[in-house]
């Protein structure tokens, strides 16, 4: 799998650690969806470093920065070697700012998620500390993954702010704020938190929301149970280490059996120690699951944005309908809808024909505006639905592909663990045979 579909033109510089297999497979699926950006540029989060500095409230804090490297794809120096990449440092909060910008600017896109802010679903041995080197390393991989996902997205990859994020260290913050996305951010917040009833929900979006909720639940469950399984497996392996010690002690009082016991004991120690690497490797699988867990939030927010637009449409349509009703009543003199003017005129006497004429004209005007508003909203809704559904389809295919890859690599990890187990016990058996 790692070799299929890999284009030579875009050899994304992956990291050379154990994750390369998994991220390679994801990188390869992204390479298949070639964007202009990726055709031109290689992107890579190469390193992580600790920094200390004063924060916004003038207090010393320690934080981590990540080195983003970019390099033109076909650039070659005179020596035939690729040139040194351009690079800049970014911290996690800047990634968060970028993502918020993307969410607000492209509400119809399922925006790729960031790696988790704090370590969750940990099994006891794994550190939940943000400054722990293993966590930092996994976060580095996750951030690179995020950038590559955005860079390979047909719509997001052409965003200028994203490009500047990769290339301009100093002024990027100002540029983002200049887009004025903050204002839109407020409305987005509204859409996420408000509760409102949509009269004619789009069935597809209802189903999508339900699916996304189900996926969220099941992946959370899976991650929780997986952490418990890891805990227990750790216990099983580590207790075997005790065999190592007791065999060693026992071998001291034996003559012929001594050597066999002693060597077997060493193999038991090896067995016990092997679980650390095994479980560390499994964390990558957990990270892949987490990415899709967070993706469900992005899907949900697209659905809610759609709900909001639909709701607004229904509101303006309703408003228009009510105005038309009013006009009809005014012209025919029947009162079907309660209006304050109507009431007051009933109470305090009929209005003059001039008043009626001017009110009718105002209503007519309002109706025209309302019709234009409805037309706009319908168009907005249709555009949104079209664009969103396109992206949702793309997302679904990506999800199916990625998760199947993840399952395969998980199975491969399990096979590797079994092989190690067989090896160790076979070695021990040989020693026992020599007893």
């Amino acid at each position: 799998m790692a070799d299929s579909g890999c284009s030579e033109d875009v050899a994304v510089i992956g990291n050379t650690d154990i994750t390369s297999e998994e991220s390679d497979s994801i990188n390869n699926t992204m390479a298949e969806s070639q964007t202009d950006l990726l055709r031109k540029m290689e992107i890579n989060v190469a390193e992580a470093e600790k920094r200390t500095g004063k924060n916004t409230v003038n207090m010393q804090e320690t934080y981590t920065v990540y080195l983003i490297e970019t390099r033109a794809v076909e650039a070659v120096t005179e020596g035939g070697l690729p040139p040194a990449p351009d690079s800049l440092w970014r911290r996690y909060s800047e990634f968060e700012l970028l993502r918020t910008y993307l969410l607000v600017t492209y509400p119809y896109i399922v925006v790729p998620p960031l790696p988790e802010k704090r370590a969750e679903f940990v099994w006891h041995k794994l550190s939940a500390d943000n400054l722990d080197p293993d966590f930092v390393e996994r976060r580095r991989v996750g951030l690179e993954n995020f950038l590559l996902r955005v860079a390979s997205h047909p719509v997001l990859s052409s965003d200028k702010i994203f490009f500047f994020f990769l290339t301009e260290e100093k002024n990027w913050r100002e540029e983002v704020l200049e887009t004025g996305f903050q204002d839109k951010a407020d409305s987005r917040l509204k859409s996420l938190s408000a509760m409102y009833r949509v009269k004619n929900p789009d069935k597809r979006f209802t189903a999508l929301k339900q699916y996304s909720d189900e996926l969220n639940t099941v992946i959370s469950q899976l991650l929780r149970v997986r952490a418990r399984v890891a805990d227990r497996l750790y216990g099983v392996y580590k207790v075997h280490g005790n065999y190592g010690r007791v065999f060693s002690e026992w071998s001291a009082i034996e003559n012929e059996m001594g050597d066999g016991l002693q060597s077997a004991g060493h193999h038991m120690d090896t067995y016990a120690a092997s679980i650390d690497d095994i479980l560390e490797e499994e964390e990558h699988y957990a990270d892949q699951l987490k990415e899709y867990l967070f993706y469900t939030d992005a899907v949900r927010s697209v659905c809610r944005k759609h709900d909001l637009i639909q709701y607004e449409l229904e509101m303006v349509a309703q408003d228009l309908a009510s105005k038309k009703q009013q006009k009809e009543e005014l012209s025919t003199g029947t009162v079907r809808i309660f209006s304050l003017k109507g009431m007051t005129s009933k109470l305090f006497g009929q209005e003059s024909p001039e008043q009626k004429e001017s009110r009718l004209a105002a209503l007519e005007q309002s109706i025209q505006e309302g019709e234009a508003a409805v037309k706009d909203k319908v168009s907005e809704c249709q555009d949104f639905v079209r664009a969103a559904w396109d992206d949702v389809e793309r997302f679904k295919e990506q999800k199916d592909r990625d998760l199947r890859e993840a399952l395969i690599s998980y199975a491969i990890m399990q096979i590797s663990m079994c092989k190690k187990g067989i090896q160790v016990w076979s070695n021990a058996k040989e020693c026992f045979n020599k007893m």
Partner: protein, 442 residues
């Protein structure tokens, strides 16, 4: 050799020994009815089957003689293999077929004890009797009493150890039966114990119940003897000290291994519980997916297979591994008992010797015969013990080699099963993938 008794059988492979016997042999010395340390059961009285056990004391100690015999006749045999080699093995015993018996008084289990033999000490070449635990216990006590200088293999615990264990559960009965089989096989393979008349009765007599009464008597006799002992040991020979120390340490290590194994079982059980939950989450996930349904169900399947393999491994640990370990601890206790008895007889000898020396100094009384007999007894005891020790060590080595390689094997099988389950998953998933790719490129 006296063979006057009706059921007396000429010893088959033992002729050379009998010819080498000391003139002061069986039936010459009248002995007290209560068996004491000077019992010399074995070969001699084996030949006088049917008569009440007339134990003769003989300075020609059987183990020394056996050793000499083996050195002369089996020059090529492995020096450590002091059991009767399989080619000359002429007594085969098996314990199997447990059955529950319900009577008005009690409920108990009996086991079938099958014997095949060419020995002339037995009337028939084959026997098949049913015995219960009580009967094995009876045999053990009789052997201990009639062969005090020999190590008698242990029986599984009489009473169940931890909490409330079902005495009639399949697992318990199975485990106990295997231990009883081992016990009987060890006795039957012992060059001295296998000729014991009590063993013969145990294997051949239909109804052992009449003999039970004696069990009580001999138990009483045992304790009386020990109280009457009261001699203090001066200097234990270093080789026996070493044995004692070894047994203490070994016992300790086995206890540790037992605890480790139990801990592993516990962790494993908790792991398997979580793993089962884990598998079922994949199944429920599959329910909300289309493309991923089959892959997820397949993952759940692989996880489930691993659970099954894990269950098998745990079962093996508790059924086969732990019981054998525990039985060895009992074996060590038996050996320690024999060492204690040896100490006792040495102490008695030294005590009597000292008393005799003092008396001789006083009034020139010559050394009484008892003292010489004690000395012989001690020497025989020491020789028997050393021979049994070697046998025990050799057996221990074999038993543990078997036990530990068995444990390694089970673990290997566990991983092999799991590996196969995951490999079939990978095949399935990759097949589907190339199918899809084929569709795409078309």
């Amino acid at each position: 050799m006296s063979v006057g008794a009706p059921r007396g059988l000429a010893s088959s492979g033992q002729k050379p020994i009998t010819e080498m016997l000391h003139p002061l042999s069986a039936a010459e010395e009248p002995l007290p009815p209560v068996p004491d340390v000077s019992d010399r059961g074995d070969k001699e009285s084996g030949l006088t089957n049917g008569t009440p056990p007339v134990e003769a004391s003989s300075p020609a100690c059987t183990s020394l003689l056996i050793n000499r015999l083996q050195l002369e006749e089996n020059l090529e045999a492995d020096a450590r293999d002091l059991y009767i080699s399989t080619e000359t093995k002429d007594l085969f015993v098996t314990v199997d077929d447990p059955k529950k018996h319900v009577s008005t008084m009690e409920t108990y289990i009996t086991y079938r004890v099958s014997t095949k033999t060419t020995r002339v000490e037995f009337d028939l070449p084959e026997y098949c009797v049913r015995r219960r635990y009580q009967d094995f216990d009876w045999l053990r006590i009789k052997l201990e009493d009639s062969q005090p200088t020999h190590l008698i293999p242990p029986l599984p615990e009489k009473f169940v150890m931890k909490g409330v264990v079902d005495r009639f559960s399949e697992e318990f009965v199975e485990t106990r039966m295997k231990a009883l089989d081992k016990f009987l096989k060890r006795v039957a393979d012992h060059p001295v114990l296998s000729f014991n008349p009590h063993l013969n009765s145990f294997l051949s007599v239909k109804d052992l119940n009449k003999r039970q009464g004696l069990a009580l008597l001999t138990k009483v006799g045992e304790s009386v003897k020990q109280v009457a002992g009261g001699y203090k040991l001066r200097a234990r020979p270093p080789e026996f000290c070493a044995m004692g120390e070894y047994l203490d340490t070994f016992s300790q290590k086995l206890g540790t291994i037992d605890r480790i194994a139990q801990r592993i079982l516990k962790e494993q059980s908790e792991y398997l519980t979580e793993l089962r939950d884990y598998g079922s989450v994949y199944t429920s996930w599959a329910g909300s997916e289309d493309e991923l349904r089959r892959p997820l169900e397949a993952v759940a399947g692989s996880v489930s297979t691993c659970c099954g393999a894990g269950d098998d491994l745990s079962e093996n640990m508790s059924q086969d591994f732990l019981p054998v370990l525990r039985e060895y601890v009992l074996y060590i206790e038996s050996m320690k008992n024999v060492l204690r008895k040896r100490d006792q007889s040495q102490a008695e000898y030294e005590g009597r010797l000292e008393a005799a020396v003092l008396r001789r100094q006083e009034d020139k009384t010559p050394m009484p015969v008892e003292v010489e007999k004690c000395q012989d007894k001690v020497e025989c005891f020491n020789a028997d013990l050393k021979a049994d020790w070697e046998r025990w060590q050799s057996n221990k080595r074999q038993d543990f080699r078997q036990l530990l390689t068995g444990m390694a094997d089970k673990n290997i099988h566990y991983y092999e099963k799991c590996q196969a389950a995951w490999e079939s998953l990978v095949t399935l998933l990759q097949e589907k993938q190339s199918e899809d790719k084929g569709i795409e490129t078309n």
